[in-house]
Amino acid sequence: MLPVFLIGLYVFVLSIFVGYEIISKVPPLLHTPLMSGTNAISGISLVGAVIAAGLGHDALTTALGFAAVICGTINVIGGYLVTNRMLRMFKKK
Amino acid sequence: MKIAVAKETAPDETRVALIPDTVKLLVAEGHQVAVEAGAGAGAYFNDGDFSAAGAAIEPSRDALYQGADVVVKVQKPSIAGGEVAALREGSALVSFLQPHSSGDLLKALSQRQVTAFAMEMIPRIARAQIMDALTSMATVSGYKAVLLAAEALPKFFPMFMTAAGTIAPARAFILGAGVAGLQAIATARRLGAVVEAFDTRPVVKEQVESLGARFVGLELTQEEAQDAGGYAKELTQEQHDKEVALIAEHLKRADIVVTTAQIPGKPAPILITEEMVRAMKPGSVIVDLAVDTGGNCALAEPGSTVVKHGVTIIGRTNLAASMPIHASQMYSRNVANLLLHLAGEDGLHIDLEDAITSGTMVTHRGGITHPALKG
């Protein structure tokens, strides 16, 4: 199990650098849309949710999975749409 | 309201109380304006300009005055010249009146039942700024004083580095940084002089510096220096001595000096003595804007330019009249704003509750009304 964890750790550390570097100069006015945009992205645990809901292991896990799918989907769909609405405000009239 | 624009009678007065542009404005507001023939000539406005603006031209002064609700003038009317006598009883007069020093005139006006408004008494409150003729005229004098100095100075104002050597910039020293003083600072700086300014009121430090000049001052508190109206107070003897010493120091280095220090209703303080003039550089120039009220420089002579100890001392009075077009334009706007303020449904409307009306009116219904002038 250890190597998997280590690999994950490498990926984790590198991603943190990437995350820091790309965020480091956002103008404050974009804070809210950026927050909303990354919030939509964090709905990616939907990936885990569909597996849980679809694996058909037992009723409990499937139910939990189903709930997770609903939560994740709302997060993803709603998040992207809201972000998009916010960003429309920044277009030059 | 019937408004009459009088032709000035004072010698060398070139301004006119209303200019055609303002006449047009008043006419548009429903007033009738009559102008004495030739009233605008000194300021390059001819009768044709006035008629085009909607005014009637009236060659006879008596006819003009008799038909008017308000007569507007620049300089106070002369008793001797019959101007006061020509005013219709019950009519109003708007003009500079020098009320503090013109007791006789005020008496004559009140006897004649004239309601007189002194343009110099416009209170210094925010909404009266548009009528503040003292400020307007001080703006003109401050600007013009520096031009006179530059013209008389045997040197350049700005610094120049040329093939024929380096020319040092002129040093200007402005005494009194009120409206005229600040304008003088700005003009001298524009022309490239190095400017220092002196005043007793500490608040003006920031204002002087906002124009890029250096402030020189006594260490007085706000209360010691300034009265409630924003004007300067008279100093104690000790303060005055300190002030004189400080000024003497700076005068030695100055090429041009413009003095504007005044205390309303009092003679101007003497800030430059003969001894101090003697210590100045030959060729330097003093312009004394306070010469009307006694002068800040002991050697200044009202109305003339003298050279003493190698220093040119300009005591020209009524500087505003030397720039008649714009001086008239500004005065005219101030007067018109006051007229519009005073005008009621039908003729003058005297509201004694109103700070502007009561602050500016000096005589009314046969009496001297202004508290500062009574007694």
Binding site: L2, V4, F5, V11, F12, S15, I16, Y20, I22, I23, P27, P28, T32, P33, G37, T38, A40, I41, S42, G43, S45, L46, V47, G48, A49, V50, I51, A52, A53, G54, L55, G56, D58, L64, G65, F66, A68, I70, G72, N75, I77, G78, G79, Y80, L81, V82, T83, R85, M89, F90, K92 | A126, Q129, I130, T135, S136, T139, A186, E206, G212
Partner: protein, 461 residues
């Protein structure tokens, strides 16, 4: 071969997410960035649906359908001003999803749980649960279901510490005894409680920061879910969101001139001067909004006409050259600039003229009050530089004010009023100015010259 292809797709998606977030951080590319990240999301989820050995799509389809409808409707119907609370809600659901996946994995693998797996499951669960409950409280505060003021109680920080230690203890116990479902549920409870207690004491005005922090938490939960499922793309995206969320939180605190610590644990009530972006719920009426250079920049860049109102503060700061430079820079970008010179701005007649002429502002850019007053309503920004009395609406509205009756520049009619001054101090007349408190007013505190220089520098990039 299939995992090979799918892994490559996941990698490409990760790259798209990275680029998408990067694009989100500049106004010019933000919308395209959002589309790109949405595309990456579709690719990732789609690939999982294909390669994820799904036995039964029923519940997935049902769940996605419900989620889509609810999410889309909520996003479309919400009012612009209610967006922050919606984002908080969405974020909580994201945390919930991660937590639920962790719970589901826990039960599914109950028999084969190794320590490593338990650890990551518990982490994913705990962080997810905190995100959920914290976000719900934040939602409640923003929606004003819960009082916005900080709710404090004695020893709260000690209480929280205790709870966290408890969670840690239960966690360690579960690593040793993975199959103790009862304790597992206790941990869920503790986690939810921590979320609630963490957010309750924080004032409503600080909620945007809290939401940013919780957003970072939801990212971290995703990363742990990635460890649980050995899904690298989740680790990448989760840590990306986690990291960017943290730095965003810090950036927001910096913009407010406060430390993160102070915001989260300070609990000293709503500040007067609070940072707020657009869409963030307006601070209580009457509170001043202080903004940053970058906020100002976006406003300026989105204007066709900027009217500059100089006052005595410009003179005092000797900022005339900087003003001219700003006007030049705006001009270069095709934004029209006009100067509105009030007749008594400054301290002597023509004070502004003298200084603007010194800075070589062309005369034809100067407008006097009568000429400009009707144009404010068409201006994107009215930039008030060290002026105060000359734009004070009290002159029109308040007969008791000493400046009542003085005609003023109607700066307040512009879409945004930007005020450059050092403090809330009054001007010459010594009276307060309600303009500074209006909704469309942006205060940029600081010496006018230095603020302008910063604006110019920012405009050059």
């Amino acid at each position: 071969m299939l995992t090979y292809v799918s892994d490559i797709i996941y990698l490409v998606s990760a790259v798209f997410f990275i680029v998408g977030i990067k694009m989100l951080s500049s106004p010019a590319t933000a919308r395209r960035g959002n589309y790109l990240s949405a595309l990456a999301m579709v690719m990732t989820v789609g690939t999982t649906l294909v390669v994820g050995q799904i036995a039964d799509y029923t519940w997935i389809i049902a769940g996605v359908a419900v989620g889509t409808v609810v999410g889309a409707l909520a996003a479309q119907w919400v009012k612009m001003t209610a967006m922050p609370q919606l984002v908080a809600l969405f974020n909580g659901l994201g945390g919930a999803a991660s937590g639920l996946v962790a719970v589901s994995e826990y039960f599914r693998r109950l028999d084969t749980l190794e320590s490593y797996l338990v650890i990551v499951i518990l982490l994913s669960l705990t962080v997810g649960a905190i995100t959920l409950s914290g976000s719900l409280i934040a939602y409640g505060k923003l929606q004003e279901l819960i009082p916005g003021r900080p709710i404090t109680y004695p020893l709260q920080n000690w209480g929280n510490l205790l709870l966290m230690l408890a969670a840690l203890g239960v966690g360690i116990f579960l690593v040793i005894e993975p199959s103790r479902i009862d304790w597992f549920l206790v941990l869920v409870g503790i986690s939810l409680l921590i979320g609630v207690l963490m957010v309750l004491p924080i004032g409503g005005a600080d909620m945007p920061v809290v939401v940013a922090l919780l957003n970072s938490f939801s990212g971290i939960a995703v990363a742990f879910t990635g460890f649980v499922l050995s899904a690298k793309v989740l680790i990448i995206v989760g840590s990306l969101v986690g990291a960017s969320g943290i730095f965003l939180t810090v950036a927001m605190c910096v913009a407010m001139n406060r430390s993160v610590w102070n915001v989260i644990f300070g609990a000293f009530g709503q500040l007067d001067v609070a940072a707020a972006g657009p869409g963030v719920a307006p601070a209580a009426q009457g509170a001043v909004k202080a903004y940053t250079i970058d906020d100002a920049l976006v406003m300026l860049e989105n204007s066709d006409l900027v009217i500059i109102v100089p006052g005595f503060g410009m003179a005092a700061a000797q900022a005339q050259h900087a003003v001219r430079e700003l006007s030049d820079k705006l001009g270069e970008r095709g934004i029209e600039v006009k100067f509105a010179v009030h007749p008594v701005a400054g301290r002597m007649p023509g004070h502004m003229n003298v200084l603007l002429a010194e800075a070589n502002v062309p005369y034809d850019q100067l407008y006097d009050m009568d000429a400009i007053n009707d144009q404010f309503k068409t201006a994107g920004v009215a930039m008030v530089i060290g002026a105060n009395d000359v734009v004070n609406p009290a002159a029109n509205e308040d007969p008791s004010s000493p400046i009542y009756g003085m005609p003023i520049l109607r700066a307040e009619e512009a879409r945004t009023v930007m005020v450059l001054k050092r403090s809330m101090n009054p001007g010459f007349a010594g009276i307060d100015n309600q303009l500074f408190l209006r909704d469309n007013t942006m205060m940029l505190f600081g010496d006018a010259k230095s603020t302008l220089s910063k604006l110019v520098a920012a405009l050059k990039n």
